[in-house]
């Protein structure tokens, strides 16, 4: 398993897309932090970048990479290697590579410049999002046989979580606004890793006050240590459950 991880990682670190991704993130981070005069604003812009780019790039790149290396996978599986370790090894390789890219692009600059709890929350949630969306990519890879369909599904998944989900949530809030929906809302938010990441970072910023102003419950629960643990645990679930599913499906898959 270690050897496979090593090969995947070396292959990916030489990959031009990863390099460009890192560079783009780094340029964006430096320009944003340079432009905004106060930390809170810089963090908010970086949060927007993270929430928009990281899911889409992670899921698309991973899906394409998995499908492209399908032949390599088949070849390896001809050897006495368990399917599970094969799959998890390539996942580990790709998520490490993407995670490192995020850390190098955003993490280093942010931690050096701001060095606050919010910065740490941003980096952690960025890395978690990378892990989650490459896990989802793995699931897409094992479910779909065809590369085109797989990429389509990846795009739809990313769009669903970054945009569509919030739309549905807003529709839900609108139609049930007469009822006490604060607690159901908290439950629904757990169904979207992107929202979880957003709230995790927002609550470490000054802007948290504005959430507390109208929805005291969000701040009370999410802002507490318990809430942070809950949010992080939910995000970890979002990584682990797709992985387990992928391994199960892959075990029985006809390659």
């Amino acid at each position: 398993m270690k050897t496979i991880i090593k090969y995947v990682l070396i292959d990916l670190l030489k990959n031009r897309t990863i390099l460009i991704y890192t560079l783009v993130l780094a340029v964006l981070t430096i320009s944003v932090t340079g432009m905004s005069d106060n930390m809170s604003k810089g963090m908010l812009s970086l949060l927007n970048i993270t929430l928009l780019f990281v899911p889409i790039i992670s899921i698309l790149f991973s899906t394409i990479y998995f499908f492209n290396s399908a032949e390599f996978t088949e070849l390896l599986l001809a050897q006495p290697i368990r399917r599970k370790s094969m799959l998890l090894a390539s996942y580990t390789g790709i998520s490490t590579a993407l995670g490192l890219a995020y850390l190098a692009g955003v993490g280093v600059t942010v931690c050096v410049l701001y060095n606050s709890l919010a910065a740490i929350a941003l980096v952690i949630s960025g890395v978690l999002l990378t892990l989650i969306f490459s896990a989802l990519a793995l699931l897409i890879f094992v479910v779909f046989k065809d590369k085109t369909r797989g990429i389509g599904a990846a795009i739809i998944t990313a769009l669903f979580f970054t945009l569509l989900f919030d739309g549905l949530l807003l529709a839900f809030i609108y139609s049930f606004s007469d009822y006490p929906i604060d607690q159901p809302l908290l439950a629904f938010i757990s169904l979207n890793p992107v929202d979880l990441a957003r709230i995790l970072v927002l609550l470490q910023l000054d802007a948290a006050v504005m959430m507390g102003y109208s929805g005291a419950l969000f701040k009370k629960f999410m802002g507490s240590a318990m809430g942070t643990i809950y949010t992080t645990a939910c995000m970890l679930c979002w990584m682990i459950i797709p992985l387990i599913l992928a391994v199960r499906i892959f075990r029985k898959k006809d390659i």
Partner: protein, 409 residues
């Protein structure tokens, strides 16, 4: 001969009222004895030291001057001074540690039914109420430091508390750590100038039924809930700074039932809500700076006839929020950093109107729980769509002549 008699009596009276100067040194009941032996118009020079005295009544016209900040300590049980005579001057004293009571309002210095009293450069530390004025007229409070360290607003009193007064001048005082910094109830024709009110548990300034008052050049910083002005006519607020009133239920300035007032050239920086207006009538808001607030202005639909002219709105999360579609207030020639119109004829006024209420502000005003989507990508898309095709935002609330450049204030 008869006249000579009267003349000599008058001369004698004049001589006997000529002011004497008494020196007070620390000792048991020193202050109380000095006051009861003094005649109206005398000066008491209080020597430095520690006076363990309380409930000292000043019932004649005296000038009480502390040299080297003598300390009067009420041992956490009793009130400090009670002034009941007109034209008393008290300066340079440190009054500390009054008692706490939930039945009576215990104060460091209480002025009751007196006029023309001057309190200058005193230090009032750890008192339930700092300075308490009741039914006082033409008093001057200047350069006092009033500080307490209460933990919640139930146990504490107000820094400067004025009830049923007229023509007060409250200048250059510094008040911190009380319930309300300055509290005015039924106080008319008064001025509050150059004070610093910071870190109070509730309001920096609390104002009720106090007509024709002016407050200028004050700084209200980091108070629990900012400044509240309620049920009042003709208030003038000029050159004040409202800064860092940042919290779940904090306002820079809360206006409720205010009529015919002027808010001019103030600075609102980093407050959760810059100005909150409810039931106000004919309030003019001019040449103010709103910067880095959560909401710069929240105008409830119950407000009418207000003019917002020549203000700068910079870096606020939401510039204006309102709770209805009806808008009876006018916005004119303000600078909005969110304005993205154009100015073809180069007269520094934008050619298309600006709608300062963002769609997300409308939604979160209607349904507070929608705040959970704050800063989500969806909401920024909705803003863009609404800019092209306005349907949710109140279309009456607009600035027809938005300025292209920031105003120099």
């Amino acid at each position: 001969m008869k006249y000579a008699w009267i003349l000599s009596w008058l001369l004698l009276a004049a001589w006997s009222t000529q002011a004497a100067t008494l020196v007070v040194k620390p000792g048991p009941d020193a202050l109380r004895k000095a006051i009861s032996s003094a005649r109206p118009g005398d000066t008491l020079l209080v020597q430095p030291g520690f006076y363990r005295e309380h409930s000292i009544q000043v019932d004649r016209r005296l000038i009480i001057t502390g040299t080297g900040m003598p300390v009067i300590d009420a041992e956490y049980k009793h009130p400090g001074f009670l002034i009941t005579a007109d034209s008393v001057i008290m300066q340079g004293l440190q009054i500390q540690h009054t008692g706490r009571s939930s039945i009576s309002d215990i104060a460091g210095i209480r002025v009751s039914n007196a006029s023309h009293v001057t309190l200058r450069n005193n230090k009032i530390l750890d008192c339930t109420y700092g300075i308490y004025l009741q039914n006082a007229q033409h008093c001057l409070l200047e350069g006092n430091t009033v500080h307490s360290g209460i933990k919640n607003e139930i146990n504490g009193g107000n820094g400067i508390h004025a009830w049923k007064c007229d023509a007060l001048q409250i200048n250059s005082n510094s008040i911190s750590g009380h319930r309300d910094g300055i509290y005015f109830e039924f106080v008319t024709n008064s001025g509050i100038e150059g004070n610093l009110s910071a870190n109070n548990q509730r309001y920096g300034l609390h104002f009720m039924f106090s007509h024709h008052d002016t407050y200028m050049k004050n700084i209200f910083r980091e108070n629990g809930a900012g400044v509240a002005v309620m049920y009042t006519r003709e208030v003038t607020m000029t050159d004040n700074t409202f800064i860092q009133n940042w919290g779940d239920a904090s306002y820079g300035l809360l206006l409720k039932e205010i009529t015919d007032s002027h808010i001019t050239h103030n600075r609102f920086i980093k407050n959760t809500i810059g100005i909150h207006m409810e039931g106000t009538t004919r309030v003019s808001v001019q040449r103010n700076l709103f910067q880095d607030n959560g909401w710069a202005i929240r105008v409830m639909a119950s407000s009418s006839g207000s003019q917002f002219t020549g203000n700068n709105f910079i870096g606020n999360s939401f510039d204006v929020a309102t709770n209805g579609t009806l808008m009876l207030n006018e916005f004119h020639r303000n600078y909005w950093d969110k304005y993205d119109g154009y100015d073809l004829n180069r007269d520094q006024v934008g050619d298309v109107p600006h709608y300062p209420v963002s769609v997300y502000a409308v939604i979160s005003e209607k349904i507070p729980s929608a705040m959970i989507l704050y800063r989500s990508f969806l909401t920024s898309i909705m803003e863009q769509v609404e800019k092209v095709m306005p349907s949710i935002i109140p279309d009456q609330l607009k600035d027809d002549q938005p300025l292209m450049k920031k105003l120099e204030l």
